[in-house]
Subunit: 364 residues, 2 copies
DNA sequence: CTGAAAGCGCTTACAG
DNA sequence: CTGAAAGCGCTTACAG
């Protein structure tokens, strides 16, 4: 009841004044100075817990949002956090941005989208130009999404900038930047084991020819699983392809083509797997009855083919959230749920999120 | 070399940032007050020509750029602009957000994402709750994306809030809010005509059962085109489906099933069309040789099936940009390129962007 | 036609 | 751990 009344009052007040809630009002409601509210907003550790809590409830009750303009003007150093993207719109990019926006707001950072591309492959000149633009933006931190984590020249250049770099995805720790990885190798193991449990012994794999660390790790996980289940590894069950639908179709046809064809195929990405499904259709095979197909990523591609793909979801939201947090606090916390701190600069998320849909059936 | 250059640029930038030219310096150089400089900047007619000229040369000499942050801060409150979304990540959402973020920054607005859903269908309670949350956010404006434009209860509730509402997509002008529509009917006409030009006479249409205005308009365009080309309209060539891959598959099978089957099928959305492609595969028909298929939207679904779909791209970036602009200026400009001002509150974009891919072949 | 003052909403720098 | 003051760069509202 009380909450409802306060709610109503705030609303009426806002309508009447036609302006938004300011730090002053929050301070008044919490019974502290503006300074203290500002400290809470900026994550200063010097505020007593009790005071902090009081301020936070005031913020919530009034639905206060700091005015970015004022912040920028006063501070001269609102932290600008960049999120790099390549201009290709996708469900992954929307997940990344939505979550980054939310996390940045929570931690008082301002999100700036920085675009590179979308030309593929990226030329050295293009990279240098983009990096110059990023340098000129005066960012405090920059987040590189999984999709661009393999661009070594780009990462090299970005590492030289006077900003904190966080790379999502990939595998190895690198002291030039912070990395948040997820357990691709275990994912590959899991997906392969699922197929083995369904009786499959001849399992094909469509690998990414660009040899990104993540994609290579998925393949390594596949080999781990074969070994674990005493199934011999065969070169001819591996095909490489450019990550595109066409690449998946071609690689799928190649794998299906020969006489001793696989009964199941893993795509290193959903897009490749979607291509494999189409290849199966073209060759007259029913999925999943004649051929099981699984992918990686839980992207839109996984839900756009029939049957919809069993796949492994990447914890993108979690990763950006952790990245923004890292930038806010200049380091990872010691204890992150479901994640392991490999080095102070390298956090690995080790939960696996298997999404089972309709593209797997028992063999034979 | 390049790295060194990047460093140098940053250094220069930082120095520049610390002492960026302000209105005060311009005023001093021109020998006037800040106020006069401000008047010149804001095109006030009350400045004497001679003074104006002096100020302008000072501006040029110092290469002065007004600080947008300060401008917006002083000029009034910064406007909070909401973008509604349903939590379902997609390429469309990423396009919407990327563009909204950019436009808001340009016009000094602050973008707030407001989520409703993602439960489907949305219950009245859920809608009311979401609308309350939106009310409490104290937004000045709210943009409703095409995907949610059909939710009449939601729109009704939002119309009652003390904020400026802009609905993207849909068809009819409504005085309770501003609308930016695109030419769905002409799009339906165009797509149908493309098929007719390819010799198709029996053209199926998978309609959206939810009867959204846009989707209905596409069907109307289809009928227009048939009439224009003297092809009789047949009820049995129309199927309705829930907008999902499964819906498309089922509707596709129904249309393909009967003896006198269509040689081409239009999906009211790409997702439905993707389902139709899968249905064709399941029934042993080759796309596009046995069946041509086209969709609407140029979404990820259009690129995730094989063959990739010919479709019509919606001008989403353009629409959000215009929406943000409308909110900034409280109205549409008189002359927008490629668009028509139906009423002062209703702008219709009449360009059609046909994306031809590989899902259409000549009939017979 | 022009200017001095107040203030937008926030932060930095200092003081307790 | 918390607060009072000054000021970021500009505009509005008032005064000449």
């Amino acid at each position: 009841m009380c909450g409802l009344n306060a709610f109503k009052q705030v609303e009426e007040y806002l309508v009447a004044k036609r302006r938004s809630v300011t730090i002053k009002e929050v301070a008044e409601l919490a019974g502290v100075s503006q300074m203290t509210v500002s400290r809470v907003l900026n994550r200063a550790e010097t505020v007593r817990q009790e005071t902090r809590t009081r301020v936070q409830s005031a913020i919530q009750e009034l639905n206060y949002r700091p005015n970015l303009m004022a912040r920028h003007l006063a501070g001269g150093r609102t932290r600008l956090t960049g999120l790099l993207h390549d201009g290709a719109h996708s469900s992954e990019l929307s997940e990344l941005i939505v979550c980054a926006l939310q996390s940045c707001r929570d931690s008082g950072q301002q999100l700036i989208l920085e675009q590179i591309g979308p030309v593929e492959p990226m030329s050295p000149d293009m990279i240098d130009e983009a990096v110059s633009a990023i340098a000129a933006a005066g960012l405090d931190g920059l987040i590189v999404p999984p999709h661009l984590a393999n661009q070594s020249r780009l990462i090299d250049r970005l590492s030289e900038l006077p900003l904190t770099l966080v790379v999502l995805g990939g595998t190895r720790a690198d002291e030039r930047f912070a990395r948040i990885s997820h357990h691709d190798r275990a994912g590959g193991f899991e997906l392969t084991s699922l197929l083995v449990r369904n009786g499959h012994k001849r399992i094909g794999f469509v690998a990414d020819q660009s040899e990104g660390e993540s994609e290579q790790d998925r393949l390594a996980g596949y080999r781990d699983a074969l070994m674990h289940h005493n199934i011999p590894f065969e070169d001819k069950l591996i095909a490489t392809a450019e990550v595109s639908l066409r690449g998946g179709v071609d690689a799928g046809r190649a794998l299906i083509g020969h006489s001793d064809r696989p009964t199941a195929i893993i795509g290193a990405t959903d897009k490749l797997a979607a291509g494999v499904v189409s290849a199966a259709h073209l060759e007259g095979l029913k999925v999943p009855f004649d051929l099981s197909v699984v992918g990686f990523g839980d992207t839109e591609a996984a839900g756009a083919v029939w049957p919809q793909l069993t796949t492994i979801r990447r914890p993108l939201s979690r990763m950006v959230e952790l990245a923004v947090d890292y930038l806010a606090k200049s380091g990872f916390p010691d204890d992150v749920d479901g994640a392991e701190l490999v080095t102070p600069q390298h956090l690995n998320i080790n939960t696996i999120d298997l999404i089972e849909r309709d593209s797997v059936a028992a063999s034979g």
